[in-house]
Symmetry: C2
Subunit: 332 residues, 2 copies
């Protein structure tokens, strides 16, 4: 590529490079006359300042990193979009990487992003505590955790009220006569899966309801495999799933067994990815405000950067029950 630098502009307009810099950044007053000359030269040359040189000089890159499990998962894609829109509006660029929940990949990505001198990090990692990240935070790296919190880290986060989400689902099911529940949850080491597990068990401890709980994985495949292999599944009135993808897998496996949803058994999801509305049967689920999560997290992060906040702040968003066709009123 070519290389028109501030020098070229200075030369063409017949001023010093500092003057050029001043008109471009507005950091100090410049006479109208010279300003015009500079602007003209800039246009003529199609010059645009090197933000990498600027970064080196200013110590800020106006770039935010985002480490997430998989951009291919609509849940994350929507969060990313929320972050992207907010950040761009405020002059920041987003650089991201999919980690596939892999600890090594996660660390590698962290190194890469750090070496790129990101100003802040949005992080949705595997559940395990990450010493390297922890250390960087202590050293001043601004991070906000999204959807998942890492144990032992006292930092900012944006999550959804998982307990409330589970209770919304259970309320709906119980009001409609359900009395026994099977919970097909996501990855065991994951923050959200754990929270949902706890909420579920708490609600069940009255002993009034028959129930079982299993950790699997947050994917269609995991749901499908689980339901395919699980015998006597009709002993339950309802199956709660760790997310919508699991629910899709469960429903498909059930139908293959000749079991109809919701006529014979109710199934619920979690997330409300856009597709859930169009699934057959349309999924009863709990909506997480994905786009908003991305926005809020970015807002929080930019605030931390701007104000040099070391204090952590947490935002807990409200989930919303969405009743559709995959749950029914039992005969009782």
């Amino acid at each position: 590529m070519k290389k028109v630098s501030i020098k070229d502009v200075a030369k063409l307009s017949g001023v010093s490079i500092s003057t050029v810099s001043r008109v471009l950044t507005g950091s100090a007053p410049v006479s109208k006359e010279l300003t015009e000359k500079v602007i003209k030269a800039v246009q003529e040359l199609g010059y645009s300042p090197s933000s990498i040189a600027r970064s080196l000089r200013n110590g800020a890159t106006k770039t935010i990193g985002f480490i997430l499990p998989d951009i291919t998962n609509p849940f994350f894609a929507h969060i990313v979009r929320g972050a992207e829109d907010y950040l761009r509006k405020h002059g920041y660029t987003l650089i991201f990487g999919s980690s596939d929940q892999d600890k090594n990949e996660e660390n590698h990505l962290l190194d890469v992003l750090l070496s790129k001198h990101i100003d802040g990090l949005l992080f949705t990692g595997s559940g395990d505590s990450n010493p390297k990240l922890l250390r960087k935070i202590e050293q001043g790296l601004k991070v906000v955790f999204l959807d998942r919190i890492i144990r032992g880290v006292n930092s900012s986060y944006v999550i959804v009220d998982n307990k409330k989400g589970i209770n919304l689902l259970l309320d709906h099911l119980i009001e409609n006569g359900h009395e026994s529940f099977l919970f097909v949850n996501g990855d065991k080491n994951t923050f959200s899966a754990k929270q949902r597990h706890v909420a579920f068990m708490e609600r069940m401890k009255s002993g009034k309801y028959k129930h079982e709980h299993y950790f699997t994985g947050f994917s269609y495949r995991a749901g499908y495999n689980f339901a395919s292999q699980f015998d006597d599944i009709l002993e339950f009135d309802a199956i709660l799933c760790g997310n919508d993808l699991i629910a899709f897998g469960v429903i498909d496996a059930l139908e293959e067994k000749g079991i109809h949803v919701p006529e014979q058994i109710s199934v619920t999801g979690f997330d409300d990815i856009p597709f859930s509305k169009h699934y057959k049967p349309a999924l009863t689920t709990v909506r997480q405000p994905m786009y908003e999560m991305g926005q809020k997290a970015s807002e929080l992060l930019l605030l931390m950067i701007k104000e040099q906040l070391s204090t952590a702040e947490g935002i807990i968003l409200d989930p919303e029950l969405v009743v559709r066709e995959s749950t029914r009123r039992t005969k009782i």
Copy 2:
């Protein structure tokens, strides 16, 4: 954030900064003794070289930009994932931006990415010719167009054989007795929609088949609205849709009208996003190798960068017919 630089490492290990640089880059031999000292200091300090300083020095950022319509669209998310995986394996990082097909946003993104000194660009833009981009390409910017080519630009690209895709669909439909076709296409100004339109009209020009063609938009909404408002839709044996999302919208609108797919009318999609397999009815469509497109495009781009190729190369991937449940054999 803190700032442990190469100087700190040099000081701690008692060598010069060039020695540190040499062991880190392997650009020149260093005695075992000093190497060890340096490595130890690096670990102790948790030092990682500033790739922004490196970029400034080397003139390469090891960063690739990707401008696309919307990361939230699974079609693009999968392409991005393919690109991401390939690029990361080769030491490159991906910066992306969603343009929503908006010309201004597209240009703004281009400026931002350029100022970040990306080494190359993956581009899926609105269909219209983009003079600014054109100019940058002439100035040496390495670009590969993905899925969509811009008119008047002679650059590298990776697309799918749209004509073949349409013919695969039409072959399947015709073999199964269909004789009249309605094509609900995507955005009119888009390269792929145009290609598919041409392929369709060419096949129809024999006059043997009743047919109509309309441009709408590449979204669920567009398909839904179109089908809701279209009267006498049952005069056609089959509806071809510009992509899977449109097909979903069409099918839903049809069902609301009490028209059953495929019993009363066949519907096809284009893309084969992962969800199409699980739709009810499972969608007959044409698979675009999305992940592979991202990979190939990245491979091509890195090649252009490495070899300083100015010559353009085009890769046309083969689409694949996927017959599922949304098409039937007509009685005839």
